[in-house]
């Protein structure tokens, strides 16, 4: 596959790795980089990069997985909407197993008879609405700047076609406020960030300037092994030279100005609002709700919220894991009470979730004790078993 295979070239990856080892060695101290994209988390685990990187380079996963940062309250609202008689609730597959209060999920709701459908594209919502004129279609609007424009396009198409039986529950979030919260977090000592490639395809490079202004490296990286390694090397180069700037590794996927068409539509359909993030709390202007012209499409305005109080799952470390202050093996539930088959928290659900990635790709290593597993994690994992 063009634009993918070239970036899985083992020889180029080996050379990059060798350069990374050299650069990290010259820095001497421990360097901490945080990836703020679930696809980076997945790629780093899938390609086994953590195991071959230098000892003094720590990679932390941040709040880069949309379903993971969705609050339990918002999951409960989704469950409420999906349970309403006559509603067809349509969502991307990641949401199906995310537990709300008391461990309820969309999947369980569907098994109990609710009409919950998994869609691959937001556009399917329009087809559903046109195919079921006498039903109410509710779309789960979830995701960062990458997927939010698709929902904005559906909202615009809805108005254009005067579709009256479709509404959207928007828990969309934008990435820059979360980055700012991480920069401001005194508990989190990070030297640089690997910034999300496809969010940047939409927002461009400018929104990352506050990272550089805070004296930290910011590298927008792609998702293949060569991309991630080249991104890490570019960040180390900045740190070694005492520089802090926004750099673009993923030039084939990102225009520096972003995607003006998508941004324009996004801004015409949605406006920013304070939003609750799991682990990070309420962040100003970090969520997206409909502008007044589109308010009739708001599913919560149409169907209301559940009365019950929402409760976080007991003992779940997702919040701290999303802030990068804990790794999955440091959560007492990881791998025993919380697994991808029976997840307690959302980080174990989505393939982009940190716990799911660790469980899938590192668990055997954690148990068998391979050569290069982080010693601290191994010890903590043993203690938790």
């Amino acid at each position: 596959m063009k634009h993918i295979d070239e970036y899985r070239d083992p020889e180029l990856a080996r050379r990059l790795l060798s350069a990374i080892h050299g650069r990290a060695g010259s820095i001497g101290r421990t360097v901490t980089l945080m990836e703020v994209c679930g696809s980076h988390t997945h790629a780093i685990s899938r390609f086994g990069l953590r195991e071959v990187l230098p000892e003094n380079l720590r990679l932390l996963s941040g709040p880069g997985c949309p379903v993971c940062v969705t609050s339990t309250r918002d999951v409960d609202i989704a469950l409420h909407l999906a349970g309403i008689n006559g509603v067809v609730f349509a969502t991307y597959g990641d949401m199906m197993k995310v537990p709300g209060t008391g461990g309820r999920t969309l999947q369980k709701l569907r098994a109990a008879g609710a009409d919950v459908r998994v869609i691959a594209t937001a556009r399917d919502g329009i087809d559903l609405a046109e195919a079921h004129r006498n039903r109410q279609i509710v779309l789960m609007g979830i995701g960062f700047e990458t997927t939010a424009p698709a929902m904005a396009a559906v909202a615009a198409a809805c108005r254009e076609k005067a579709i009256g039986n479709l509404s959207i529950f928007s828990v969309h979030k934008v990435v820059p406020p979360a980055l700012q919260a991480l920069i401001d977090d005194a508990e989190l000592a990070v030297d640089g960030f690997l910034c999300p490639g496809h969010v940047s395809s939409i927002i461009g490079t400018a929104p990352y300037r506050p990272i550089a202004e805070a004296g930290k490296a910011a590298v927008i990286a792609g998702f293949e092994p060569v991309d991630v390694l080249a991104g890490i090397l570019m960040a180390l180069d900045q740190i070694a030279a005492g520089r802090a700037e926004v750099a673009l590794q993923y030039a084939r996927g990102v225009n520096p100005e972003g995607n003006p068409r998508a941004l324009k539509l996004l801004g015409s359909v949605f406006r920013p609002i304070d939003a609750d993030w799991r682990g990070l709390g309420t962040l100003a202007a970090s969520g997206l709700v409909f502008r007044p012209e589109y308010a009739s499409l708001d599913a919560v305005a149409r169907f209301g919220e559940p009365q019950e109080t929402s409760r976080e799952p007991k003992g779940c470390g997702c919040g701290e894991i999303l802030r990068g202050v804990k790794t999955p093996p440091q959560c007492p539930l990881f791998g025993n009470r919380c697994t991808p088959a029976l997840p307690v928290g959302p980080c174990m659900v989505s393939s982009e979730g940190t716990c799911a990635a660790w469980y899938r790709y590192h668990r055997s290593g954690l148990e068998a004790g391979p050569a290069r597993m982080n010693a601290e994690s191994k010890k903590l994992r043993r203690n938790s078993l």
Binding site: H3, L16, A19, G38, D124, A251, E352
Partner: protein
């Protein structure tokens, strides 16, 4: 959810859609965010059924060649 791969446009629809091929699999996507910039043969990155970026192939090749050159000469 945010996983996107570059697919090659094989046909353009008249309604703002296109069929892209990714590793032998064909999928229909929308081109709302690319407008007239996309043509058959172009690689585009799609998310949730919408193309969000057209790959500048010349730029991609130049950047990859530069990286290969840097690494093979151990400039680092």
């Amino acid at each position: 959810m945010c996983i996107g791969f570059p697919g090659k446009i094989v046909t353009l629809g008249s309604d703002g859609s296109a069929v892209v091929e990714i590793g032998g699999v064909q999928r229909t996507i929308r081109l709302d965010f690319l407008g007239e910039d996309a043509s058959v043969g172009d690689y585009v990155i799609s998310h949730a059924g919408y193309a969000i970026h057209r790959v500048d192939e010349q730029l991609a090749e130049e950047r990859l060649a530069t990286l290969n050159e840097l690494m093979s000469h151990e400039t680092y």
